[in-house]
Every structure is written in C-alpha cells, then in structure tokens.
Symmetry: C2
Subunit: 540 residues, 2 copies
C-alpha cells in the first residue's frame, strides 16, 4: 500500500523556482573576468536562466546532451547550472587546469555538444578546438568584449540571451535523470566521469545545508572559493538557492588581496575551499595587519587542513574552521567535523585534535573501514583501514562504465585510509596508495606532513615511501623551505621528537624547489615516488 | 539518460540505523506513566525497536497493516514509531482526547489490527473494545504494572519484547509505501486520514531540521510537548534520529511544574507545542520566580501565539519564539518564522510584528493565496485570501478517498485565510469558515482575539460572526475573564482603540464561563456560532 502524499520529483529547477518565489531580492555578487563587480538578485538569476534555457533549445540541445562549461565562479556560470540541468541536459563542468590533451580526451569521452567558456580560457579552447567533436562554442561575455579568435563561429553569451524570452516552463523530468557530470582527476588511469542525477543533487543539497553540516541559512553570505568546476563548488550553488543565502563569486581573482576585499565589502559569513587557497589569503591578511569583520566559519576540504592553519584562523581571526571530507564520487559531501556535545567541554587542545579529523557523516551517507580482507574494523580511533561509503548521492558506476563496477558489496571504496573513533569521527590517515608499509605496519603520510608543516621554516612538505632493505618501506620527507630560511635536515627531524611515535619519524629529509601539484591542487605523490625511486635512505 | 548514483530508497528505518551507528550514546529520557524517569540511548532504542519489529511479525502484522497507538510521548512510543513503519506496517497514532464514539469510528475506518496503549488510556480502550474490529491489545508496560481489566487476552509490551531477538533486518521497502496514518480532527464531517509515505517522512525530516526551519543539531536537547499522537509530534522523533539530538519525553505530566523540572534537569534547549500548553508552564514559572537555564528556542504552532506570550518568553526568559505553521495534511511543517537579514536591523517592535506571522516556507513547500475565484493574490502583506500549498509531504488524497479529491489544480486548499508579505512571510488571518464577512469585506477573527488576549483581565477570547441586519455579519467577542477580575464590556471595547481599524472592532462582548475546545486544543467556533445564533447585536 502506497502513501497518499503528493508525488513531486526532486528537481534542480525547483531550487531555482523556490529561490525566485521566496528569496527574490537576495543578492548574487560576482567579480567578473571583465574586471568589474556585477550585482543582481535571485529574481534576475531566474529570469536569465530561463533565457539561457531557451537559448539552449535554440542551439539544439537535446535532453541528456552534455553541455560543457570552462568557467570561473560567477553569475553566468550559475545561470548555466540551472539552465542546463533544469531543462534536462547535463551540465559538464570542465577543469581549466587540465592540459589540452586531457581536456580534449574528456570532452570527447563525454561527447560534449556545446562549450561555454570564460574569456580567460580562450587559449585553452583554441588549443583543443581542432581535436574535439564539439562544434558549438560560446564565450561568456557581451559583444563589446568578444575576442579576436581562430575559433569558427564563436557565439556571444549575452547576445544569445538577449534574443530569448525569459518565459520557459521547466520540464517535469524524471528525478533519476542525469543532471550533471564531473570527471575525477585520477592521478593514474583515464579520467572517469561521475554522472549526478536530479534526485542525488537535491538530496545532497538538503543534507549539506543541515546545522551540523555546512549550516546554511538565509542569513549567510557565502563565498565559494572552491571552483564551480570542481564537484559543483561542493554543492554551494544549490544550497544557496535552497536556503536563500547571498552568494559572492570571486571570479578569476583568487589572490589574497582580491579575496579579502570581497570578504569585507560583501560581509561574507561563510567560505569554502582547499588549504592551498587559504595560505595565500592568510599570508596577505597577516602581512597587512588586517582581519575578518564578518566571516564566522570556513569550510576546509579537498585535503587535510594543516593544524597551523587551523590555529591561525581560529586564534588569530576568530574564524571557526569546519573540516569536511568528500570526493567527486560523493557529490561531494561525506563528512563534516561538527562537534558533538561531548566535545564542547573538552579543553582547547583536545578540541583542536578533534577538529583535525574529517568528522562524522551527514545523514544519508554511511561509512565503514575495512582491513585487507574486507572485514569491518572497530571504531576505536586507532584501527585504520580503507574507507568505504554508501548513500543516495554516491556514485554507483562511472560514466560509460569506465573502469568497470567500482562497488564492493554495494559500498564505494574511497581509496582513502582512515580511522573512526567511538564518536563516529573519521580521520583520513592516508591515500591507500600513499600509505607507507614499514615492516608490515602502516605509517600514515599525512600526520608526518602536518607536523612538518607546523615548522615555521617549512612552506610545503610531502612524505612518501622510500625503499628500505630491512623494512621494505620507510618514510622519506620532501620539503620546500620558506624563502630566506636556513633549515637543516637534523633540525627538522628533531622537530618530530615527542610529536609522533619514534618509528613513524622519517628516515630522511630532502629539500626540493617545488612539489608537483595536480589539476585540483593535490600533491602528485606518484610523481614524487618516481623521482625518488633511486633515493638511498641512510642506514642506522 | 539516468544519473549513475546509488539508488537508495528514502526509508524511516535508515533514520534509526543512522542514529544507532553514528549517535549510539545519545540519550532518550522519558517520564513514564509508571511515574519514574527512564533513561537510555539510541543504541538501546535501536535494539528494542528490532525486538518490537520481531514481536509485530509474531503477532501477525502484515505489510501495510495498520498498527495503532494510544500513547503519550515516551520511549516505548518511539520504539513503535520505528518498529511499525520500519518493518513495513503503518503506524496509526490515535488521539486519546477523542470521544469513544469518534475513536471507534476511526479505528474501524483505518481497520487497525493491533492497538498499543499507555495505561492511562485503559478506560478509553475498555469503552471501545466491544465496538471495534481490532482484536489484539497490548499495554505499554511491564508485567508488574499490568492492570486488572475486562479486555480479553491483554498482552504485555515488555513481555512481548523480552521474548524476541534484537536481530532484525529492516526490509528494503519501496520508498512510496505507506508509513503512518493520522486522522484530522475536522470540526465538521467525518474525520479523514492522512496516509504518509516513507519518502514523504524522510524528505519532511530533512526540511524540518534545516537552520531556518527547526534548526536541530546533535547539540540540541529536544523536548516535544506536542504529542506524538498529533502529526508525529511535528516530526521531531524523526528529526532527533537524523541529527543525533537528545530527546526528552514528558509522558503524561504536562503541567507547568513537571515540564519545568524536566527542562531544567535535562538541560533542554528546544521545545515545541501549542500555545495552551505554554500558558500553564509560563504561569508556573512566573509565579514561582523561576527561569529557563538552558532553553534557547520554543516552537509554537497549532494556533497563533498570542503576542503577550511571545513577549513573556522573549523579554522575561530570553527564550526565542519560533512561530511555525502546519497541518496534519502537511506532515506537518509548512512555514517557520525565521528572520531574513532584512529583519535583523529592525527595531524590537517591528521584529515582534514579523514574529507574529507564521513565516516563510521551508524548501519543498510552495504556497499561494487566492481570491474567491481562484486568482492568485499579490504578496503585499495586505491582500488576504485562501492559502493553498503543495509539496512532496503534502496530502494528495485522504485515506480511502474520504471526501473525494481535495486538490485544486494540484494545490491543497488549507482552509486558512492568510496574507503574504513581500518577503514571503505568511500570516494566517483566519480559518476560511471563521472569517467574518461584514458588508462584503473580510474581518479576520484572529487579530481581534490576539488584542483581547493582551488585556490583563482576559483568560481566553473567541471572536465569531454574528448576524447583523445591515452588514450581514459583524464581530462578536466571547470572553472568559481571569478569576477575580472585574472586567466590563465597555472597558474591553475601549481597549481596541488605536489597535485596529475602527470597523474591525467587535460590536459586542459576551462573558462566558468557558470556550469549547476540540481534541487538539483548538476552539470549536462552529459550536460557538450555534450557541450564539440568536444573539442580538446592539444597533448603533
């Protein structure tokens, strides 16, 4: 027997309809590629998204067709989020940090029909135009700013919109239909596409907005530094419409000065991004004796937040750090490190230790850790094993079944190695492929890197496994020193004393000029392992 | 083309599984019918709900079968919430304030197979046992407290559970299957059942927990005064499992002293109930010079919160009042009066005026107001018309199609008359059938009652339409005076001066000993209209 409540599909278009009806006057502020600040409301967004949906129809976009973007965080990108997914096509957000080879592979694998791009990325588009099947290109700008280009028949976004009515009836799609596509930046193998659905996106949005998750309300002013081309900016463009929050988009200007000025002028309360972005921001704010007058919380994910960065945010600037963990395959939010009551009475250092964890699942996601034979491990904060997750916004298969069936008994293996404590707080100790196997025991590289990063002379640190004749593998620490610092191997190794088990201390330190980073800012440890394959550890 | 995310049905059992895995140690505290305080954790709840599910199977409960409860807010009732709905049967919560005639009608209409009841309600169960088809009765107590009764084969809940394993695999139900049933206490016509689904309940839970809705987190201690037999205690038993909040159940003791002692001993942060309950609580707290040491917010719904009560909560006790509006047909949450940024800079009296509204929709619900011909009215805070709503947790048809198709073009007509302002804040001005039609213009009875209630000598007030030879209808105010107050008709009418449009002022005041209330505490205005049908208004 079925219940007798209204059957309404969970659709991305309903987020926009809600925002327009119930938060029409709320603002969206964008720093544009053209250089100026643009400002409009949810009412304008909704009208222009409908124009864009009509423009897509006029360009021949079919239901399910992949429509690609190569764009910064901005209002035009936001319009496409809703116009493309709302009208039944699939929004394919491309990562502009990819090499032209990878980009053309992904565009053709996805079979993108149309590409909308910001002017910044014209050279990249010109580099791929002759190598991809996609034949329709649209520059996200107005006629006055249209570039001189070798691209044939380049279309102008503002002209396309101007030619269209702002009346469009969002179709009543099946909630399981595909809404958007994002490729993982796998460090090995072909990139794989994660194909989100209308339903998975709306459910993820509900969960992400909850008080113990990202905690978003109409009183928030949200500046997503995390790019809209990177797992939908962690869902914030959807969350903002659901709760009626003001949105501030930084466009291409991600330097500390530009970000800080937006934080202050727009009175941002909540931001989100990877640690590397915050380094530039914090350095600028500290150097110039500035502060944050409105920011209350910052969500840090993508990589573990170095403890030193957490202390700077919290102690120096009274900005609460909310550690979160997710993946492209998770839409992306899996866990958020929101305190339970048991943590509120702890002393500060104990609280900071809790905050260094990736946290507990939001409702919808379940997780477990397993050993090599797949047996579930205890939640004691000590046992570490591969992290597996499941839930209605977690991938079941990759686009076109790339890589085969990824699931293990219905769970998605994340490739992360983690512990879970008795309160259900998960902590990533390593990537499964980065873990250091010393004499049959596992050493987590992330702990070691965090300690090294806390040293005032260290700008960046990576810990990898190096060959050892007795222990098979031992930790090798690669360090980029801060300019002007005289830092020695011995001083750095001594810095580990008392901070970590003796046998976890690296066997050696090598100073390097730079550490190679991937398209989403993650350290490419497989490259480092190749580079240091011949490194001989000192033998004691 | 479908997305490729995991297909996981939205099931009530997943709320319990989440609570057990991720908030196992969180507490549920209950004042029992037996008189003592009972205390256990989500881990215990989950184990006992599985025992109860096995007991239901042993009793022959079928998928879709209606399993009724007649019970206070308590842990055993909570166990049945999950055991019944989680195992695929339908939880039918009966209102013990109903007369035996109504109760037996509803039980047979629902075709209840089993009735679980608290000892308090034994006389009521004995009064209906010979008149209903239901043949299986279970007392929610242990062997030591089993009553002497004429009920044949009365079963003992604790014995049933003790005989069962706590191992039970929650079935993978269709998310659209029926989960629970609640009858509306219609003041006219037969009671009508609203049949919730697994999906509608989980979606409602997500929405209800959002920051701008009930704003619930693992740090909250929630005491639902609103009964679990009244629209699922506004969804709080589900919300608590979703977010891991501590629950405190007051059982049968709803007097001010009992409630206040639980608020304090359990450090309740959030409560919820109808205005009439708060009157007793506030009177007790004020009389005894007490305060609330932990309570931050109270959700008031079911009827408009009198402005005087709101001031007492906020100004005297620093408890923020969150006005909410819902209906049995809405699961029940429709709107919550959470400020937008525009309200935060207003002065206190302007804020209080906003707070007196029922507020804005939570995401999922949409609303509109229409005139007599069904045309949508503007959102100007002035135009008032019937309120219509739609959304995935709103009724589409009543159980067994009682009353026919209730919808109008896909919208549910609430029977409430309301305004909506430019910020999307809705305010109920009346029930459609209670509105006073004076010379073709509408007068809202609720505004008039609120003003009367603000008079220090008034205990309760009801405003109804009385026949008028010239204007068709004019407002007649019925008043219960506070004991020991000498209150005159003239003084009360003068009290309206400057507070309301002259032509809205009642034509007459009649002092009465009591105002008849229905089973959910609402004033029965149709009875009042009958009683005062012959009342002659003074003619000016």
């Amino acid at each position: 027997m079925n219940g007798q409540m209204m059957q309404q599909p969970l659709l991305i278009s309903t987020l926009l309809i809600h925002a327009e009806r119930h938060h029409a006057a709320q603002e969206i502020v964008s720093r544009r590629v053209e250089g100026d600040i643009h400002r409009y409301t949810f009412r304008d967004l909704a009208a222009r998204a409908r124009q864009a949906a009509n423009a897509l129809r006029a360009l021949g976009a079919q239901p399910g067709a992949r429509i690609a973007t190569l764009a910064w965080n901005g209002y035009r990108h936001m319009e496409l989020y809703y116009a493309v997914s709302g009208s039944g096509s699939v929004l394919h957000t491309l990562n502009p940090r990819l090499h032209a080879d990878q980009l053309s592979y992904i565009m053709d694998h996805a079979e993108d029909d149309i590409l909308f791009f910001d002017l910044t990325f014209l050279p990249l588009v010109e580099a791929v135009v002759d190598r991809v099947q996609c034949k329709t290109f649209v520059a996200l700008t107005d006629r006055a700013h249209m570039p001189v280009t070798k691209l044939p028949n380049l279309l102008c976004y503002e002209e396309l919109l101007a030619g269209q009515s702002d009346s469009f009836a969002w179709p009543a799609l099946d909630e399981n239909s595909a809404s958007s596509l994002c490729y993982t930046s796998g460090t090995t193998g072909n990139p794989k596409g994660v194909l989100y659905s209308q339903r998975s996106t709306v459910l993820h949005t509900y969960a992400a907005a909850l008080p113990d998750a990202l905690n978003c309300s109409a009183s928030d002013v949200i500046l997503p530094v995390v790019p809209m081309f990177h797992v939908n900016a962690w869902g914030l463009p959807y969350v903002a419409c659901m709760v009626g929050a003001k949105l501030v988009f930084p466009g291409p200007a991600l330097d500390g000065k530009s970000l800080h000025s937006l934080f202050e002028s727009e009175q941002v309360t909540l931001s989100a991004g990877v640690p590397t972005v915050w380094q530039g921001l914090l350095a600028y704010v500290e150097t110039n004796g500035l502060s944050f007058s409105s920011m209350r919380r910052t969500i840090i994910g993508g990589a573990a937040c170095p403890p030193a960065m957490m202390k700077t945010f919290q102690d120096l600037f009274q900005v609460h750090v909310l550690h979160a963990w997710g993946m492209t395959e998770l839409s992306p939010v899996g866990t958020v490190c929101s305190f339970k009551p048991v943590h509120r009475t702890m002393d500060k250092s104990a609280q900071e230790a809790v905050q260094s964890k990736q946290g507990r699942v939001v409702f919808g996601v379940d997780m477990k850790i397993v050993d090599d034979s797949g047996r579930e491990l205890p939640w004691d904060g000590k046992a570490s094993g591969e992290l597996l997750v499941r839930g209605p916004w977690i991938v079941s298969r990759y686009f076109k079944d790339e890589g085969g069936d990824p699931l293990v008994d219905g769970w998605f293996p994340t490739g992360d190695v983690a512990t879970i404590d008795a309160n259900g707080f998960m902590q990533i100790t390593d990537r499964a492929k980065d873990v250091i196997k010393s004499g049959g025991e596992w050493i987590g590289s992330i702990d070691i890197e965090n300690i090294a990063m806390a040293h005032p002379g260290v700008a960046m640190a990576a810990c990898i496994a190096a060959y050892h004749p007795k222990w098979d593998e031992r930790p090798l620490l690669l360090v980029v020193a801060k300019p002007g610092q005289s830092l020695t191997r011995e001083a750095l190794l001594a810095f580990f004393d008392g901070k970590i088990a003796k046998w976890w201390t690296p066997d050696d330190v090598v100073f390097v000029d730079a550490i190679p980073l991937g398209a989403t800012g993650k350290m490419l440890k497989h490259k480092l392992r190749e580079m240091f394959r011949e490194h001989r550890l000192p033998t004691v």
